[in-house]
Each structure stands twice: as structure tokens, then as C-alpha cells.
Symmetry: C2
Subunit: 641 residues, 2 copies
């Protein structure tokens, strides 16, 4: 009986302690919010909220580490039971009563003393999986859901290049440089433990995930060039996904022999295969769930009940994450592509109130989760008990990161500029180089496993890299912008863009506009028109009545084009009626190549000047595009041809 009560009291004390710990974080966040308000109120732009959250985390960490000392709880017992394996659940017989224990994880020998050490510090340390299961998903989903799709798709080729090729290049360059550094350290005798090439590569993957949230916030506020914004944002969003899967593949590198760190082609190919498999699987799952939500909202009248609609949206998005995790894929990657798909299709089917509600909900979740992670980062500087500060490694890492970023940006930009019509200017490249901040994803990846000497050193160094980039690079953004003479786009004068990814983009656009959007949303053109005659019945079934009737369809805040097809017969080069922003109808008859040019330029114009509501009927995208047109002065004049 005594033991029973003692146990209950211990469990309750644990609970009270956990509540108190969580309360510390809530207080941190509250303080951060109030200070952010103060900064905004006084237009103080040198410290973004994430940098601020980190500072507060550091302060609290100092207090917890040096100010408060909770004495040892010597009742922690080490059982020396000799078992064959470590079961997930353990039943311990204590004088006739049974107690259930669940497996938390492995502890390295060095941590054992910590287990009995400063209890306070151990308490405010979260299980690393909390980041991947609870905190990162809302952040990544919000990034996908709030993607500025027009600019994203316009620069799709470059973004994909930076995100995939660039991250891999960065990873290997950093890995190689670190390997050199580590070998040097071993020679000099500064290395106290093992540090293999796979560890270096892992470090490279971890630290290649950029998170320029600070910079982008400033870009947004100052209305910096949208292309630069799109490139940076798109790259960061995708390279998080790539970095996660890359790091998993590197960790899973498992050669046949006894020594798990020799190079074996088969093992490498297996890791590579795993990368492809996990990435595609997560991508497919994310898109599938997004599509399913779009279909559900398309076929039901859920828009009459905003609470149900919002709840469904939230649940479907969350289920993506769980499904991916249950299938062994990566939840955050799935959630990213789900967010993009939801923004592209489902969003259009929601009622206006639900559009606001979902946006606000995920905005709030993103805000809270992000500031939580950054506070925790600051805290971890002092509460993590296995830091390994190795100056040589740290200096080497900073250098490697700098060079890795340079090897990512400059060569790729050069190659891309060969193909782009709208070149990425060199000051853009410098800005992108500068804006390679590291943040939440890097931290989460590095804290995931801190069992070995190598991982602990990596964690410490990563933390310092994050601090430096967020505080120094983030804080210096405004200066850098003026230094690089990057224009603010306040006015309406924009470049006429014959966008570089025209070919790739247009293939995608045709397919999306003519088939995917009509199936998944209420936009035109009706499928009965675009689909081959044999699929007639199916097309009639899948087409929304609104696709036939409504002209003013789908005004996305952010959509690419607003095209509806009212006339059934569409032919190459056919233009019928078009409406300019003021609502006046302008007719233009069919005219061979001129109309081809007009339509492409209309597409172009709409992409450039998002504010004009350009509704065109009966026009298909026409290929190939004639690019001998002079630059536009006033879009409306062109339309009246």
C-alpha cells in the first residue's frame, strides 16, 4: 500500500514537474510575443522574432544552468539485470507489485552520470522526436500552404535545381571539407573520438537545410523583388525536404562487413535508392491526400458549414503526416507536398470564410511552433549536457559551410543563367549567398541523435552556426540589401518577363489548367471540352456545373491565370472575348500568329501583373511562343489590339 501511494505520488510529481517545464516555455513565448510587439511598434528591424526567441532561450538557459540547482534524486536505480534484449515494455516486480516501464531509448555511458545529475536540466530537455512529430509538421505545412505559387512556378526550374542539385553539392562539399578538417585534427591529436566520413556527410546534409525565415520576413516588409523572394523561399522549402531524406539515407548506410564505415558501392546504391524511394513515396502520399481533400470538398457542399470544412481540412492534412510515418516514409516531406497541393486545388473549393480560417489556423500554429523551436535552441546551449566545443572543428565548419553555400549558389546560377532569359544577376546571387540562414530543420536534424562523440560535436557546432547566421546574417539583411542595390518593387513598373522556365512551365500549365484543375476544382474549362470525345460521359460526370456557367472563376490571391472557357469550340489561335481589369469587354477576332503572340503575352502579363484580373475566354495556350515582341508599356493598350 505504501509503495502504491509512493508511486502515485511520484507519477503525480512527474506530472507537476512536466507542467512546470512546459510553463517555462509558455512564459518564454509570451515574453517573446510582447517584445516582438514592442519592436514592431518601434519599427526595430534588426532582430527578428526568431532571433529574439533564441536570446530569451539563452537567458533562461543561463538561469536554469547556473541559477537553479535541483539536488540529485538518488532514488534513480540502476538495475543490473542480465537480459538478452531490451524489450519495449518492462514489468518490474517490486515486492509483489508490478510496475510497468516503457523503453525510452539507449543511454551512452557518458550520460549515465547525467541521469542522476542536475534533474532540472534533464527535465527541460525534450525528446528529439517531439520536433519531428509535433513542431516541424505545422511549420513545413504552412510553408507549403502559403507558397506564392505564381512566382514559384515561374522559377520552378531554378528552384528545383537549387533545392536538389544544390543541396547535394553542398552536402558533399561540406562533407569533404570536414573530412579534411577532421583528418587534420586527428593528426594533430585534437580528436578524442571517432569521426567517420559518413558522419561528415551527415553533417553536410544537416547543415545544408536553409531556413531564411528572418530574411524573407524582411523581404516581405520591404517589398523586395519577387523573383529573389521566390527563389529563396522555394529553395529553402524544398531543401528542407531534401535534407531530411538525405540525412536519413546517409544514416541508413549499411555496408555488409563488420565495419560500418567502409565504402561499398552496393551500400551506397542502396542508400541512394532509399533516398529516391522515401522522397517519391512521401511526395506521392502528400499529393494524394491533397487531391483527396480537393475531391471531397469538390463533391460535397461542405462549404455551407465552415466549422466542418475547417475541421476536415485540418484532419486530412494531419493524416498525411501520420500515414507517411506509419508507412515508413518521412512525414514532413509528405506534409510539404500536401500543403502545396492543398493550396493549389483544395483552397479554391473552400468557402471564403474557411479559406481565412485555415490560413489563420496554420499561421498561428506555424508562429507558435517556430518560436518554440528557436527558444529551445537558445535554451539548449546551456541545458544540453554533452556539448563538445572544439575550436578547430568549429572554425573548419564555418569555413566549410561558407564554401559549401558558394559552391551551391554560384556554379548553379551560372548554369541556370545559360538557360534563363531573366538572368539571376550577380547581386541576387550575393544576396542568396548571404541569406543562407540555418534554422529549425538543421537544429532538429542535429539533435535527433546525440549519442556518439561525433554527433555531439556536430550538434554543438550546428548550434553555433545557427546562432551566427540568424543573429549576424539575419540582422545584417537590411544593410546587405542596400549594399547590393536590390530594388524594392513598390511601383507598378516591372520587367516584362519571358520567363526562363517557359517550356517546362508551359507543359505543366497546360496539363494543370486543362485537366487537373477542372477535375479537382470548380474552374473551367469544362472537361467535356478538353477531354477526348471517348471520355465524354466521364467528363460530364466529373465536371462541375460552375465550370460551364461562371465567367469570373477562381480568383486566387495568387493564381497564375484566370482563364475560363465559355465557348465550346476552341482551335489553335482562337481568341474570342477578353475582359480587362475594368470589366470592359474587348473582342478580338481570330488572327493567325498575332493572336498566338497575344495569348502568350497575356499569360505573361497576368503572371507579371498579378493585380489585374484578366479573364479570357476560349483561349488555349499556344506553342511555340514568338519572343520577338517589344517590351510592353501598358498592358491594356496591348489588349485592345
Amino acid at each position: 500500500l505504501d509503495l502504491n501511494m509512493v508511486t502515485e505520488r511520484k507519477v503525480e510529481d512527474n506530472h507537476r514537474q512536466d507542467s512546470a517545464d512546459l510553463l517555462i516555455f509558455i512564459m518564454l513565448l509570451t515574453l517573446t510575443i510582447l517584445t516582438i510587439w514592442l519592436f514592431k511598434h518601434r519599427r526595430f528591424r534588426f532582430l527578428h522574432e526568431t532571433g529574439l526567441a533564441m536570446i530569451y532561450g539563452v537567458l533562461v538557459g543561463v538561469v536554469l544552468r547556473y541559477g537553479i540547482h535541483v539536488p540529485r534524486d538518488i532514488s534513480n536505480v540502476t538495475l543490473s539485470c542480465h537480459v538478452n534484449a531490451s524489450p519495449p515494455t518492462l514489468l518490474v516486480n517490486v515486492s509483489g507489485k508490478f510496475y510497468e516501464y516503457t523503453l525510452k531509448g539507449e543511454i551512452s555511458a557518458s550520460e549515465i552520470s547525467d541521469v542522476q545529475d542536475n534533474e532540472m536540466l534533464r527535465k527541460v530537455t525534450f525528446d528529439p522526436e517531439v520536433f519531428f512529430n509535433i513542431l516541424l509538421p505545422p511549420i513545413i505545412f504552412h510553408a507549403g500552404y502559403s507558397l506564392k505559387r505564381r512566382h514559384f512556378f515561374r522559377n520552378m526550374g531554378s528552384i528545383l535545381a537549387y533545392a536538389f542539385l544544390g543541396t547535394v553539392i553542398s552536402c558533399f562539399i561540406i562533407g569533404l571539407l570536414m573530412y579534411g578538417c577532421v583528418t587534420l585534427m586527428k593528426q594533430v591529436g585534437q580528436l578524442d573520438g571517432d569521426f567517420f566520413f559518413t558522419d561528415c556527410l551527415l553533417f553536410g546534409a544537416i547543415v545544408s537545410a536553409t531556413d531564411p525565415v528572418t530574411v524573407l520576413a524582411i523581404f516581405n516588409e520591404l517589398q523586395v523583388d519577387v523573383d529573389l523572394y521566390a527563389l529563396l523561399f522555394g529553395e529553402s522549402v524544398l531543401n528542407d525536404a531534401v535534407a531530411v531524406v538525405l540525412s536519413s539515407s546517409i544514416v541508413s548506410y549499411q555496408p555488409e562487413g563488420d565495419n560500418s564505415h567502409t565504402f561499398e558501392v552496393m551500400a551506397m546504391l542502396k542508400s541512394f535508392g532509399m533516398f529516391l524511394g522515401v522522397f517519391s513515396g512521401s511526395f506521392a502520399l502528400g499529393v494524394a491526400t491533397g487531391v483527396m481533400t480537393a475531391l471531397i470538398s469538390f463533391f460535397t457542399k461542405l462549404r455551407d458549414f465552415q466549422l466542418l470544412e475547417t475541421a476536415l481540412f485540418f484532419l486530412m492534412s494531419w493524416s498525411t503526416f501520420l500515414m507517411a510515418e506509419a508507412c515508413g516514409f518521412t512525414g514532413v516531406v509528405a506534409v510539404l507536398f500536401c500543403g502545396i497541393t492543398q493550396a493549389h486545388y483544395t483552397f479554391n473549393n473552400l468557402s471564403p470564410e474557411s479559406q481565412d480560417r485555415t490560413k489563420q489556423l496554420f499561421e498561428l500554429l506555424n508562429f507558435l511552433a517556430e518560436n518554440f523551436i528557436f527558444s529551445y535552441m537558445g535554451l539548449a546551449l546551456f541545458t544540453f549536457q554533452n556539448h563538445i566545443f572544439n575550436p578547430t572543428f568549429i572554425v573548419g565548419a564555418f569555413l566549410a559551410v561558407f564554401l559549401g553555400r558558394a559552391a551551391n549558389i554560384y556554379p548553379l546560377s551560372f548554369l541556370l543563367n545559360l538557360g534563363r532569359r531573366n538572368k539571376i544577376s550577380s547581386n541576387f546571387q550575393h544576396m542568396m549567398m548571404f541569406a543562407g540562414l540555418r534554422g529549425a530543420m538543421t537544429f532538429a536534424l542535429s539533435i535527433r541523435d546525440t549519442a556518439t562523440y561525433a554527433r555531439q560535436m556536430m550538434f554543438t557546432t550546428t548550434l553555433l552556426i545557427v546562432f551566427f547566421t540568424v543573429w549576424v546574417c539575419g540582422g545584417g539583411t537590411t544593410q546587405m540589401l542596400s549594399c547590393q542595390h536590390i530594388r524594392m518593387t513598390e511601383g507598378s513598373e516591372r520587367r516584362s518577363t519571358k520567363h526562363e522556365s517557359a517550356w517546362l512551365f508551359r507543359i505543366w500549365y497546360n496539363f494543370d489548367h486543362n485537366y487537373l484543375k477542372p477535375i479537382l476544382t470548380h474552374s473551367g474549362p469544362p472537361l467535356t471540352v478538353t477531354m477526348p470525345a471517348c471520355c465524354g460521359p466521364l467528363a460530364r460526370c466529373l465536371t462541375s456545373p460552375q465550370a460551364y456557367e461562371n465567367e469570373c472563376q477562381l480568383k486566387d490571391d495568387d493564381s497564375d491565370l484566370i482563364l475560363t472557357d465559355g465557348d465550346i469550340s476552341l482551335t489553335y489561335g482562337d481568341i474570342t472575348v477578353s475582359t480587362d481589369a475594368s470589366g470592359a469587354h474587348i473582342s478580338a477576332g481570330p488572327a493567325g500568329t498575332t493572336s498566338a503572340v497575344i495569348s502568350a503575352d497575356d499569360l505573361d502579363r497576368e503572371l507579371t501583373y498579378g493585380d489585374h484580373e484578366l479573364v479570357m475566354r476560349g483561349t488555349r495556350l499556344v506553342l511555340p511562343m514568338d519572343d520577338s515582341e517589344p517590351p510592353l508599356a501598358d498592358p491594356r493598350h496591348r489588349m485592345r489590339m
Copy 2:
């Protein structure tokens, strides 16, 4: 090395399994949402969403119990280590590697076989504390935040009577009846284990928490009499709080002797003291946090940044819960009073967008949490492995619950009607009797501890009671309403209410209107007027500039009155200017008792006819109230006196 990987894989498998389990619930909820939409679409009113969620839970439970069988995981090991105590953390030495295990709780001997039994069922079973820490707080907070304050305060006396006295009465009546039943069972030999009086009392406390969410939803839809709505809603919201603290006090009953089930006055007083202490402490904490949030939103211009405002609101409300739990009070009670306070003060300080955002956020959380709990209830019928179906006990329990509710409603209504001017009619009483549904709180309280035979029997019976009341009573509400001839209040004709709690209410109202609201919100009258002259500087500091300037203050959707003081000199019986709903100014000069009557009637009228925006200046509430006035026909005519 092998063991390391095996452990990692086990931990990962655990994770995948957890994701899959959570996915089952998400799917359940999604299905529920779609079916709810279908029901609303076809106006099917016999099954509310909570009843529906339970049905789906039952179906899935059947599938999991009989359809899927996951073989034993024999790697669960029982260690027979002889330790003196059960430490919170256990380090197990497995061939040189250390594994950390955390204490989950005690397992009774009967459960041991279950630990190795159907793994699937164990997996979809949540730790009961999940309900109190994650699911119930949003539900309870939302109940407090969405309280219709006007009707609540108007019927405050009755509601408090039902909630406190009524719950205690119900608890003891049920406890006594069950004790009789159990003694009978013991005589007959049907009782296989111990069942003490404290267990009976606990059962009474648990089952006294009503949750008429179904009934209230129907009331809302059919626009049933607002007083009945207020009584039922207010009672349910408060008696949840009372039931939680009552059950904790009963559980903590600890007499000195060896036998923990003898009656000892000291122990009983101690329990009673604990009840008072925990309840008041939670109340104080909840109100304090609400007030603090109101002050923060009052003194800062946070309303310019809706995201920050909403985030702060959310965090402060959440911190109430954590603070209460950390201090050893009851989080859900604190959160309830925090919600009420936030709705009464902070809400007025928020920007309109944030008002919407916070309402929608908590509405969504409430919706998800509630349906989750009800689904889980249905599931638990089949996944809980220690059900004890004892027909005698079940029948006895149903009877006891029925009689307990009757002993709660009818005597108290009789007593209250002695004091109320607006009597609670007998058909209202019958309706309240009928609408005593049990729900989330009852379930959570009963599942909290299912270690002993008594508790398991109580859990099974509670589950059946919840099923019955939700499906049968909830489904039959519409019939009952017509059967009792309870009017729908569609039109504008309402009773003139000289409300029964006039005295209590007016004391509160004066204090609130003249002091609390001006301190915490931007409403008038300015404190410089209402506070004594000596506090002048303090009053000037605390008064918002808007209290002086704005006439049209604080249009709460739901506020009691809209009174502003423009004129500084207020005297007893002074009426200056009043504006009726159409905006015309009506002047009335000071006139002794007549004005006293008018002002009280104006108060009255505003309380009755919430739609009219009655702005009165320079009027204080006047006591005592003359109730010889004839019933009103048209409020505007009265005003023009």
C-alpha cells in the same frame, strides 16, 4: 551493435505503430465529419454528432476486437528484480549497454496477462491522463468562453444552486443508493471483490457530471427558451468543475488507521477542506490569468497585430492550465473560470478580427476534442479489456442515477421558486430531468483509474449510462420538447423579467460595471468618476481615454447592458439622455422615483431584448427596485416618458 540496431528498430516500430493508431482516430473523425454534413444536409435531428462519433467508435472497436488479431509479442519480459521502491527512471544493463525506461504506472495482477495479450487493443488505448491534459481543457475552456453571459448572470443564483448543491446532493444520493445495492449484491453473493462506501461516493461524484451537449445543440437550433438553455448550460459547465474536484477529494480520503475505508471525521473534514482549497485555488488562478490577459491587452496596442494578439491569448489561456497543474490544483477548473473571465473582459479589448479568430480557434479545438472523446468512448466498449458487466449493479446504477437527478432537480427547483419571480415551471423541470446526459467528463473521470475491481465495474457501468443517455435521451429531445410544450422563442415577444436573482445580480453588476470593467476594458464609466476622490491619480492612470470619449462602447454580442457615462455628475435618480434603437435622442429630466423605475426597467429591458442597442448616459443602477410596474408592451414607448 546488434542490440543497438534492434533497439532503434523497436523504437521506430513503436513510433510507426503509434502513428497508425492515431491515424485510426483521424479516420474515425473524418468519417464522423462527413456523416454529420450528410445529416445536416438532410436535416436529420435524431442523432447528434457526439452520438454518431460513439457509433463509429463502437464499429471500429468491433473490428479491432474481433477482426484483427496481432499475435503476442513475447519479447515483453518480466524482470523479477527485487528493489525497494519503484523509481521514476530505470536504467537496465543489457550486456554492457544501458537502456533507459520510464515509469508508466502500476499494473494490477489481472492486467499482466493483458500486457502480453492482444497488442492491437493495448495500442489504441490511451493513457487516461491524455484526457485531462490534452482533450478536456479545450472543451471546458470553450464552454466558459462561449457562455451566454447575460442569461448566465441573470440566472446565476439558480445555476450555482444546481451546480454546487445539486451535484453534492446527487453524489450522496447515488452513493447511498449504490451502497445499498452493493450490500445487497454482497449478501446475494454477486460481488466478487471489494466495493466500499468511498467507491460508491466516487461513483456518485463521477456520474453527477452532466454534459448535455446534444440537447443544447438542439435547443440552439430550435431556439428554445433562453432561460432553460441558460440553466442547463450553466449547470453542466459548473457541475463538471464541481465533479472533478469532488472526485479528487473523495479519492484523497485518507483516514489515519490501517483500513482506509473507515469513517473518520478528521479525514472527512480534510477531504472537505481539500475540496474547498482546490476549487478556490483553481478559481483564483483562472480568474487571475484572465485578468492579467485583460490588462495586457488593455495597456498595449496589440490589437494592431492580430497574429500576435491571438497567439498571446492562446498562450495565456494554456498557461492557466499548466500553472494550476503545477501548483497541484485542477487544471480544467482553472481553465473554465479563465474562459469565463476572458469572455467577460479580455474579449472586449481584442480587435474584431482577433475576436473572430479566437472564437473560431477554440470552436475548432472543442469540436475535434469532443468528437475524439466520444469516438474513444465507443471504441473503449470493445478495446477495454477489464470490463465487468454485472447486471444487478447496472440496473441499480440506472435507477440511482435517475433518482439522483430527480433529487437534484425537483427539490432545488421548489426551493428556488420560493425566491424567484420568474418561476421555473414544471415542464422546465421535467426537461432538465430528461436532459441530464452524461458525457466526456464522466467518461474521463471514470477511466482515470481502473486498477481495482470496483473501479472496473464502475467504468463499465458508466460507459453504458453514457451510451444510454446520449443515444436515447439525446435522440428523444425533440419529442420531449413538444411533449412538454416548451415554447420556441422565435418572435420578439418575451416575458418581462423581474429576474429572481435581482439582489445578488445587481450587487455584482454594480461592482463589475463601475469598477472592474473600467479597469480591465475600455468601457466607461471612467474610474475618475466612480472611484473615491482620494484615488484620483490612480484612477486617472488606469482609465482608458476611450472611457471618456466614446459613447458607443463595447457592443458585446452578448453583453448585459451598454451604459456609458458622458456626464460627470451622477446622482441618484438622474437621467439625462437616452437613445433608442433608431438613434433618436430622447431626453427626460430628472424625476425622483419615476426615473428610478425607468432605469431599472431599462436595465431589465436591455436584458430581455438583446437586439436593441440601448445607450444610456449618466445613469447608475438604482436600488431598491420598484416592482409594481405593469408589464411592458413596447419598449420604445416606455422610453419616451
